[in-house]
């Protein structure tokens, strides 16, 4: 099972869910390049200018580890990366779990993604406002010394800190991609976990994704918000287990 974190923090988002699957799965966790403890120098603005770049990393990880019949669990934007990784290497994957997916955040005609363009502009501003205290020196302290936690303890909000330029571009790639056309190509069993009151992935979007992926399963969670794996790990785990055993 490969767990991919979404836009925001890093692989530790899965801390309440992933361990449960270790009993019967090989569990792989990773940080996307530009997030968490990834190597800052690996960030290539061109490669990571689209979700395909991230998806090719997923494929590379699976191949390097010699994985097969992978259950890919992707949160938020990573759910779409999973769709693209499936396109790139269909032979690697056995199932797809999409937690709060949204193939296109920006409304488009009749399609409701939940956001207007000016909403996205506001989001980018909100990100900027929270990254002012950031400095590149800190980036190296936080991202370059994962084995010296005493350095990071001093820093507030350290779990979700990242280089503001990278965060900004990741936000752009996340919120300005349109992968609706890729959905019908998903040919593996797929679970869509839809939260209640999720502003980032509204119910109408989850329903849309469910309609676009043939044979997919849509499970609505009681969990509120966008991160059920943090706010309701038991419910999330149970839903995934039910899907995998079903």
């Amino acid at each position: 099972m490969v767990f991919a974190h979404g836009f925001g923090c890093d692989q530790r988002m899965w801390r309440f869910v992933a361990p449960d699957f270790e009993v019967d799965h090989r569990v792989v966790l990773f940080d996307h390049v530009g997030s968490g403890h990834s190597e800052p120098s690996a960030y290539d603005p061109v490669k990571y200018g689209s979700l395909h770049g991230y998806a090719s990393d997923v494929v590379e990880i699976c191949r390097d580890l010699g994985l097969s019949d992978v259950v890919f669990v992707g949160h938020s934007v990573s759910a779409m990366m999973g769709v693209l990784a499936l396109q790139q290497a269909p032979e690697l994957f056995g199932a797809l779990v999409m937690v709060g997916p949204n193939p296109r955040y920006v409304d488009d005609g009749d399609y409701v993604g939940g956001f207007t363009r000016s909403d996205i502009v506001g989001l980018l501003e909100a990100l900027d406002s929270n990254h002012l205290g950031w400095s590149r020196q800190m980036a190296s302290v936080i991202m370059g010394n994962p084995d010296r936690p005493e350095l990071t303890e001093e820093l507030t909000n350290s779990f979700c800190r990242t280089d503001p330029d990278i965060a900004r571009q990741f936000a752009r790639v996340t919120f300005l991609s349109d992968n609706r056309g890729d959905l019908p190509g998903v040919k593996v069993p797929t679970l869509i976990l839809q939260c209640s009151d999720d502003v980032i992935a509204p119910d109408v979007v989850g329903t849309y994704v469910h309609g676009q992926i043939p044979g997919s399963v849509l499970t609505r969670l009681d969990a509120v918000g966008h991160c059920p794996h943090l706010s309701a790990p038991e419910e999330t785990t149970a839903a995934i287990r039910a899907f995998l055993s079903g």
């Binding site: 909100a126 929270n130 966008h226």
Partner: protein, 753 residues
Amino acid sequence: MDSTEAVGKDPRAQLDRLLEEDPADLYENAPCGYLSTLPDGRIVKVNATFCAWTGRPVDEVIGVRFQELLSVGGKVFHETHVRPLLRMQGAVREIALDVVRVDGSLLPCLVNAVEVRDEAGTPVLIRATLFEATARRRYERELLAAQRAAEESEARSRTLQRVVSDLAAAMSVEDVARVIVEHSRVALKARGAALMRVEASPDRRQEVPGLRALRVEGLSGGLLAALQEAASGQLVLELQRGVRSVPLDARLRSVQPALAGAMRAGGLSALVIVPVSADSRRLGVLVLGLGGESPGGLIDLDEPDTPRVVAPAEVELLWTLGRQAGQALERARLHEETARQAERAAFLLEAARLLAEASDVTETVERLAELAVAGLADLCVIDLVTEAGMTRPAARHRDPARQHLADQLRDRHLPQRQVTHPSARAVREGRTQWVRSVDEEFLAAVTSDERHLEVARALELACLISVPLVADGRRLGVVTLAADRWRRPFTAADVEVAEQLALQLALVVAKAQRYELDRRTSHTLQANLLPPSPPAVAGLSTAVRYLTATQGVEVGGDFYDLVPLHGEQVAVAVGDVVGHDITAAATMGQLTSVYRALLVDGPSPSAIIDRLQASWSLLGLQRMATALFCTLDAGTGQLRIASAGHLPPLLLVEGRAEFLPVRPHRMLGTPPSPAPAAEWAGVLPMGGTLVLFTDGLVESRSADIDLGLGHLRSAAVAAGTSDPDALCDHLLAELTGRHRADDIALLALTRLG
């Protein structure tokens, strides 16, 4: 602080009293907002300060999820950052969030929050404090804006630096165009860009200059064509206005529907036109197409159909790029012009070398045409005026794959059939014809039939030059050079080169034609003057050979003669008039006529020399000559020989050969000698052979006459025959090569038993 008196006698007690605050009041009216929410964000407790700041009554806040009170950006940040952080590290500090007031306005806040957990670690409550941060956030935004502006400014100056350094390395116009288009496209995040150069209309009838695309990226041909169309007439105005943005709006749709359509098809929301100039001379425009999806296929943040506004700083950058482009284009143009001039000079030099070596006109024009298409033109056709009318000895195409078209022009489509053809006009008017733009109308006018038109179309010519070949006022032909549409059009410098080439070629052709005329005349003359074959004489077997020189047009005044006299007497002569031209041939004719007239009196060989010497000036003969005169009695073998400066004859008897020791007298045409000419007398034995020859035979292989005579003697012995024909053939085969510098006259006679 001057407060001792005001506080009273016991300041400490008063302070204690002040600090005995009501905790409820402290909570409600604290100088910050207080909130308590359930783990899912639902607000369960809020203080008055928060309600006052947001203008929301308490009962409208309780029960609402905190994130619902945030701006959209705040909501997303809350979901993606705040909640995960609270779950993972239990607290967040100094998060910037905008709370929406009841009137819709935003209250910028800094938020601290802690997650309260029960003993099992399950979250039960979140406590948050909010500090108003309007001023601080405004300051931060300004800071951020300033930082962004500085970064953009730095990016612009980096762009400019890169452009300047790349332009410095750009040698050709193509390189310059590539640098400008690539960099400007990236700098403006444009979908496409094109650099177009203003070119004087090839058609002089039109006043409006044309635009030629030097490089295009990401813009459709249809768009450029529509732009051309739209630009005509307005272009100069556009250029004067500086950097101009042309948005795709209702006005454009009504005024320039074609352009608007092409922009819409290309997903463009605006075009930016940047003047390209150098030293106030307008050279062209840089066109940038804006809009559509940003790089990487991401959704554009601008609303669809909202033309992007080009910022003043970008305008300034583009303006500078335009001027840089102009200067670089000028420099590259000069550089290319210099290179082309060197190329032209090299071409003319090579042509001159080729023409200097010219021996055969047809071969020369073919090689010249080949040279022309190697550098100067795509097609070269050379026509020459001959007695048979206009001929086309050469038509070459640069591209071997299209040579068959040139061949058709050469073999089938002569221009004289079409008087309007520039080559025909060039010959008729004696002036260069420069057709700057070949179009369908032109082709229809200059071709003779449908087939010719097809060939002309297939050549895809763009412009051509026809230069007449004129020498001594005579029009000898015409050289036509053509460029197809992939080549840069001909310039005045190219026309000049063509004219210089034509001048050189004309001189060569004129000279060749003169030589040819001379040669033909001389040979005709010579052939008519020499007896066709010697008459049969009883008791003698004879053979004659006459070979003309092979080099150039040289024709000698060589002659031989054999005349039966009375009885068994025979007069034999061989001679050589100095010079190799018509005069020499004419002199030879006269000389042989006078010689024959003298034979009427039957004079001795020496008397013939004396009489010719004496009458040379009276005869008005202009050239000197050498000659050998003999009389032979075929019956007795009596032989008398006199020489006027001529080489001695060879006597071949029974396998032995010797030159007869005839004492040479002065050459004919030199001042008469007081002493009479000497004469050798002897007998030609039965079976003996006498060989008379001109110096061409012995000088053919060696300049040394004695060596040549030695070769002749050896060859005659080696021939092992006394048959005159066989001997002549053998001698010529042995002594002459395929190339002869001089004419050869050879006469052999054998006395039969």
